[in-house]
Symmetry: C2
Amino acid sequence: MDVDTRLVRYFAAVAEEGGLTRAARRLFVSQPALTKQIRRLETGLGVELFTRSRSGMALTEAGRALAEQAPELLAACDRALRETKSAASRAARVLRVGFLASAANEATQDIIAGFGRRRPGWRVEMRQAAWSDPTAGLADGEVEAALLRLPFPGAGALRAEVLLTEERQVALPAAHPLAGRDRIDFRELRDEPFVAAPAETGRWRDYWLAADERGGRPPRIGAVTDQPDAWLQAIANGYGIALAPESAARFYARPGVVYRPVTGVAPSSVAVVWPPAADTDPVVQDFVRCCRDAVGGPAEEDPPGGPGPAPG
Amino acid sequence: MDVDTRLVRYFAAVAEEGGLTRAARRLFVSQPALTKQIRRLETGLGVELFTRSRSGMALTEAGRALAEQAPELLAACDRALRETKSAASRAARVLRVGFLASAANEATQDIIAGFGRRRPGWRVEMRQAAWSDPTAGLADGEVEAALLRLPFPGAGALRAEVLLTEERQVALPAAHPLAGRDRIDFRELRDEPFVAAPAETGRWRDYWLAADERGGRPPRIGAVTDQPDAWLQAIANGYGIALAPESAARFYARPGVVYRPVTGVAPSSVAVVWPPAADTDPVVQDFVRCCRDAVGGPAEEDPPGGPGPAPG
DNA sequence: CACGTCCATACCAACAGGTTATAGAGGCTT
DNA sequence: AAGCCTCTATAACCTGTTGGTATGGACGTG
């Protein structure tokens, strides 16, 4: 009997949601597809897992047993994939680091340079992830560490160490009436349309919509984007405004987009994040140390002209 | 990233066998199919698992990591399926018992009757398995317990308690020159063609070919069968002879087949077998106890005329 | 030098897994 | 009571994947 872990995930979703329709929405598949897959799982096992009714699906005894075993199975699968990918990058002397947008801002170069000095022969591979993956591949073992902005989902299962904190600003279309103001209070922006991250990013999306500072009123969504460039495009097009870290003014300057300070919203922090399994990985720990060093003590600055071989 | 456990099994087979061709034979798939699946696994993971060479496939670092994690993954999968099926049968008040041919002979009825008395409301479901599955479904969690003849493969991972031991006889076509003899020494049979179990049953097949009593000379195989009826048919047709437990003369009497005592081969034992996970399962343990009782103290014998309704 | 072994590729048939559209059964509201 | 909403099941269809056989090319061996 062979089992596709996808079927187990489907099963778990239906069990948790208590119905095919809701689970299908969560899994981003159609409800008939789920119907078929669940039946296939049942006939494959030769066991009824759910009792169907007009109001949803309830677990049978057998279903409860499977629901109990499923997390362990999926965890074992996850561990296997993570270990494999990690071993591959270790063998190639590559440390893969995920990030979403500007990573650790100006400190990023220092971190990488410091790591290069501490681990000669090793290379840092910076992997930019889409916003729909807020842990930048850390959750899938796609990277060994990540530079993320807080908050991020799944923070409980990961180690994080805050590196720097900066104020948030607002990114406005150049033609926006408030674009000329020196300072804007967030309450003036609450009813503006916002350019937001995809809905499935949950808390992270809420944070950048400043849901906490809205007093319960829902935000207006003018556009949904998944990448920095589409985000800038949407703002420049006037589809909406957006909050952004102060450093975005430097890293994401674009014609048609202006950044202005905002009061009344919490600042944004960047953290270096790694999975607990890497607590004992000397390479990852070296990287964490380099992050600390790069933001803590600027240490010895390279002479003007920057790092690298002398020109000519 | 979703993974089909089939791919992991494929991978494990290739890793163990050290080559696609050999692994393909073991998995009963074609070599090109394996080639494709392994490549699919590699591209899906984005990792090279093997280094190809003219003389086979060698694991990379990443491959070694996966090979290390695979057993745990497969075990978790196995456990999940076993628990689910077991829960289903428990909920239905059914104890599934696998067996291959005559189970525990005449004691079988007593065992089932005793279990019915000990666990009112429960039902024993006897599942006959093909010889190609020498643990009668125990390995797949298809049954909670089994009545098997020793030796059986995978005995190390299972609990077994011998119930009875009986001499082996030889089953001959009625027209066979030796069919009239009262007693036959196995050495007289060594060069006869034998009706054998499928090759994949390994030690079990060897045992019924009396490989140990052949002094290293390979047996002649006259036919391969997977089920009792095909076995009897093959013998009656004169394709070969076969060893069989004494009780086969009673349970598998057929025109055209005669059974004769044989000297020089080890006797055959029947055991009740269960997985270690069922050590604490009260229902399985009750069944084991019933097995013990049924063969230990013959208890009250049925009156002459045998069990069952009186002839009309 | 012929041969066997091993992995890779090409091509084809069957199926699995997804989609949209639709049916049918209950419960809730008006 | 009628209408509407929600839930699952089914039908029809399309595509990608898994399997098969046949074959090619590389390398070591008798």
